[in-house]
Each structure stands twice: as C-alpha cells, then as structure tokens.
Amino acid sequence: MAEEGLLNTKNLVKTFGNLKAIDDVSLSVEPNSITGLIGPNGSGKTTLFNIISGIYSPDKGHVYFDGVDIDELEPHEIWSRGLVRTFQIPRLFQRLTVLDNMMLGSQGNPGENFLGIFRNWKSWRRHEEETAMKAMDILRLLEMDHLALSPASDISGGQMKLLEIGRALMSRPRLLLLDEPAAGVNPTLARRIFERIAHLREKLGLTFFIIEHRIDILSEHADKIYVLHEGRVIAEGKPEEVVNDPHVVGVYLGEG
C-alpha cells in the first residue's frame, strides 16, 4: 500500500452505543510537519487520539504508522515504535517525583525488567545517570529543574502540562500526539510552548499532531489543520484557508 504520510488513518469508525464518535475519518500527517486538529467539544478529537495510541481499537478502518498497520497493537507496543502521546488532563504518576516521571518516559532502560536488575547491574546504573542528565536538560528547558524532586502532585496545573510534554520528549519520539498542550497554561507560556514545539521540529526532526483550541497560536505554527465535527473531517488545509472556511466558522460559532 502506498503511504504518503508518517501517520495515516483509513476510514476509521468508532461507535459508543448509538453515538458515532468517529465516522469515516481518513487523514494523514506528513513527516516533520506540525499538523493541527481542531473542532468543537465532543467532536471526537480525543477519541481519535485514543484510537491512534492504541487505547481503543477502531470498529472499522486502519491506522498506519510509518507504513505499518498498528491498530491491533497494545499501547506499549505503539509507544516503542516512537509514537508518543500526552493527555488533555495530565496523567502523571502523582506519588513519584518530577524527575521520576521524566525517567519513566525514557526508552530502553535495561533495569526495567526483573532479571535485568541483577543481570545488567552496571549498565542500568549507568543508564540511570545518563537519563537523569537528559531529564534535567529537558526540565531546565521547561524551567522546572528546581522542582525535580518534588512529588508530581505538588506542582501547579500548568507545570503538570509541561511535565507531560517533557515526559513525552524523553523517549526521542518520532511522532508526538499532543492533546491541548496550551490549555490551562498562561498565554505567554502557551506561546512559548508552541515556539518550543516549532524549535524541536527543526532541531530534532520531530513530527507533531496537535489538538488545540487556541486556533490563533496553532495557525501560526501549523502546516496543515484538520477540522473535526461530529466525528467527521469537515475541512482540511492550510491554517488560513481553514480558519476562513465559512462552514468551519459556522460550526465553531454555532450557525452551521
């Protein structure tokens, strides 16, 4: 099958009882791009992310990541292929420290399996030190290094949001699904987060697929935006085209 993008969905359908949450959604995310996903509340954006990241399996249709069909895989298998997501409401490991939360995002720790603790004694200890350095670098970037040893439950809502993004970055992902990274964050910081995202795209060649309600900020950075309404893609294209699309405006303002 000829695949254009890094991530492709083909005719996805997901229903909950009588509700068609996702209705025949086909979209594609180009490598090294920032792709936006917008839509009113309840339009199925987060459901789509849940299907892509393997939390739900679709009723119909397929998800291809890097040309491979991933819709039957477990979430942890999808993660290890380099597709990492964040949550709209941060899901941190509350009783662990900020640093430990970051450490959990890293990939290939030889001490994370039972026999590995004893068999790879030296290598996991070295891995821990290196990963901690990397975690501190990212935390410094997010201006949270002074909080490294506080429990994740003690930090503020905006910082939880940032920590989620930081944790996602720990694994050197290829595609990041960000679920409203700027929600609940102050406007300056929201702008900074998006600048950081653009910078990471340039520097590390990452690909982003972002749900966001702050269309102003999103359209500054996105290459392409999909609009979801009642589980269907009603518009797609360059940010300026989509934002001025009368149908999209109608849906958002409730005149459609």
């Binding site: 942890h76 490991f93 001490g111 039972f114 290094d145 490294a148």
Partner: protein, 369 residues
C-alpha cells in the same frame, strides 16, 4: 511444645511469628504498596507454601529443597490465579482473590487424599528437636530471620531500581504507564507471582515452625492481619511493614500469653481486637500513609541529579530548612492567589461598602450599618 513456665519462650515465639508473617507482609506490600494490587487472597499462597513443605518434608525431602519447592508452587499458583483476575479493576480483583483463597482452602479441607483434610498433617521441623527448648527456639529464630533478611534485601533492591519505579507508575496511573511503553499486565503478573512466591516461602517457614498444618489455620482473617501490618507500618515502606508485623504479632502473641497465664478477667483476644481496631482508626486519621512514609526511588539518577543540580544552588534547596521555607512560601503564595480570586468574585457592596478587614475573612459592611 511450649512450656508455660518459661516467659522467654513466649518472647522468642512472638519474634518467630513476627519474622514469618513479616515476609508475607513484605510480599503484600510489594503487591499493594508498590504496584497497587489489592490482593485479599494472600493467605491462599501462604497456605500453598505451607502444604507444599508439609507434603515434601513428610515424603523425605530436606527443608531447604522443600522451601524452594514451596516458592515455585506458590508463585505458579499465583500466576495461574492472576491471569484472569488481573484484568479486573482493583475492587473486583480484591473479591476475586478472596474467593480464590477460600476455594483453595475448601479443596484442602475436603480432599482428604491430599493432606488428611481437616485432620491436618504433621511437619518435621527444619531444625531437629533437641532436649533444650530454648536452643530450639534460638535456632528457629536464626533461620527465620536470615530468610527475612534475605527477602528484605531483595525487595529493597527491586524497589529502588528502574523496575520498582515502573511498579509505582503502574500503581499511580496504569493507563499512563501503558501509553508510556510499560507492559502493565506483564508487570502485574510478575509481581503477583513474585509476591505469591514469597508468601509461599513464609508458609514453608510457618509449617516447619508450627510442625503441623490444617485448613483452619488459613482462614481469611490471616490475610487481614497481613493487611493490617502493611497499613499500620506504612504502605510502600518496607521497614515500616516490619514495624507493622512486630506490632500486630506482639499483640497477637501477647494476648495468647495473657490467656495462658490467666492474668485478665476477660478474654484478652477481645481486648487485642479492640486495641488493633483503635490503632487502625488512629493511624488512618492522623498518619494515613502509615507509621513510616513511602520513600523516594533511590537509584543513581538521584545521585546524578545531586551532582549536576548544584549549579543552580539546587543542592542547597535539598536541605531541610530551605525546603521548609520554600514549602511555606509556596503555601503562602497559593493562599494569596486563592484570596485574590475570592476578592475578584465578591464585588464590593453596591452602596459604597467598605472593607473592615480586607485581608481577613472578607467580611464587608456598609458604611451606614
């Protein structure tokens, strides 16, 4: 066996029970405290271990071998029990495990060909009986506490490793752990098997110490007394669990002693139940995390952090006074924020009201009041 005239024997006996049940409680702490698995059928695996050793030693196997056999059989049973149960939510897991424990006990009770059913089965002790009772008890303690020490060591290593960190992550948010690449089901099954194996080991020690097993020794209340050890001592803190085991067993054995010596006008067992109950309530009210709190995961990451973090004066921020001050400052700024929000929500009185104490309770009074 016990000579009632010798009070030292009571003490040694209490210590032996503490050691045996501490191993089980540590295993339960690994499952519940670290991984969040509410296992209410823990006694089943303890029982499997005890019966395995009973059957193995009576058929001539030396104790060390039968103890290993106990570990293997108990953890295998744990794995089998966990496979269907672990997909359940926490509360259903609790019900499923308690049912599993009871079913297993009923099998040992009614299938007489296994181990004489209700009549029970005698077990030769690991240390040969000599004429000197005290010497026997001291040697038993040596055996039990060396095994306990070994278990504690292994559990400490496991809980302060990346593996232990993943376990806590699974406990805090299983979905997030799964999305971040941890095979949650695999981890849960491993810990269920490991915890069951340790419970089996402590069952083996129990069987050879008591020298007799029957199905009535493994009622569900035993599981709850292990839970009490974990809750009182400190959920997620291994040393705390040892304290918990000491506390519970000393009350338990103390009550037995008081009953034997008839020094109380009532049944001391009732008093014990009351005291333990009050203790649980007090601990849950005033120290919900238990006597000792859970500690940070101690891996080289912490050391690396302390080494690099010093540039920004972070090491200083680790010291207690600074941290306290910072905590107070944080709390003050949070209070300030909340107050500001409150003030914003409360409009001043329309008729030129005046704040009597703007920094206080936010009471507003009219000028002409």
């Amino acid at each position: 066996m016990i000579r009632f005239a010798d009070p030292l024997i009571y003490l040694l006996d209490a210590l032996a029970y503490t050691g045996i049940f501490a191993i089980s409680a540590l295993a339960l702490n690994l499952q519940y405290g670290f991984t969040g698995l509410a296992n209410f059928g823990h006694v089943a695996f303890f029982m499997v271990g005890a019966y395995t050793t009973a059957l193995a030693t009576t058929s001539g196997l030396p104790f060390p071998l039968s103890a290993f056999l106990s570990i293997a059989v108990a953890s295998f049973t744990g794995l089998i029990a966990s496979l269907p149960a672990l997909r359940l939510r926490e509360d259903y897991l609790a019900i499923a495990t308690i049912a599993f424990g009871e079913i297993l006990r009923m099998i040992f009770k009614n299938e007489e060909w296994i181990a004489h059913g209700v009549w029970g089965i005698g077990v030769p002790p690991a240390i040969p009986l000599s004429g000197d009772t005290r010497e026997f008890y001291w040697l038993q303690l040596l055996l039990i506490f060396s095994v306990l020490f070994l278990c504690l060591l292994i559990i400490r290593i496991v809980s302060n490793s990346p593996y232990g960190r993943v376990l806590r992550a699974v406990r805090d948010d299983a979905l997030a752990a799964e999305v971040y690449g941890k095979n949650v089901f695999g981890y849960k099954a491993q810990i269920f098997a490991l915890g069951s194996g340790l419970a089996g080991l402590s069952g083996a020690l129990f069987a050879q110490y008591v020298q007799y097993v029957n199905p009535y020794m493994f009622e569900p209340t035993l599981t709850f007394s292990m839970w009490i050890m974990v809750i009182l001592g400190g959920v997620g803190n291994n040393v705390g669990v040892l304290f918990g085991a000491l506390l519970v067993e000393f009350f338990e054995r103390g009550a037995r002693m008081a009953k034997d010596l008839r020094i109380m006008p009532m049944d001391p067992n009732n008093l014990r139940a009351i005291i333990i109950g009050v203790l649980i309530i007090l601990v849950l009210l005033y120290r919900p995390a238990g006597l000792l709190k859970e500690e940070r995961v101690k891996t080289p990451a912490l050391k690396a952090f302390k080494r690099t973090g010093d540039e920004g004066g972070l090491l200083r921020s680790l010291r207690k006074p600074r941290r306290l001050r910072e905590r107070i400052r944080m709390r003050l700024s949070k209070m300030k924020e909340r107050k500001e929000e409150e003030l914003k929500r409360k409009p001043s009185h329309p008729k030129g009201g005046v704040a009597l104490d703007p920094g206080g309770e936010g009471r507003w009074l009219r000028k002409d009041f």
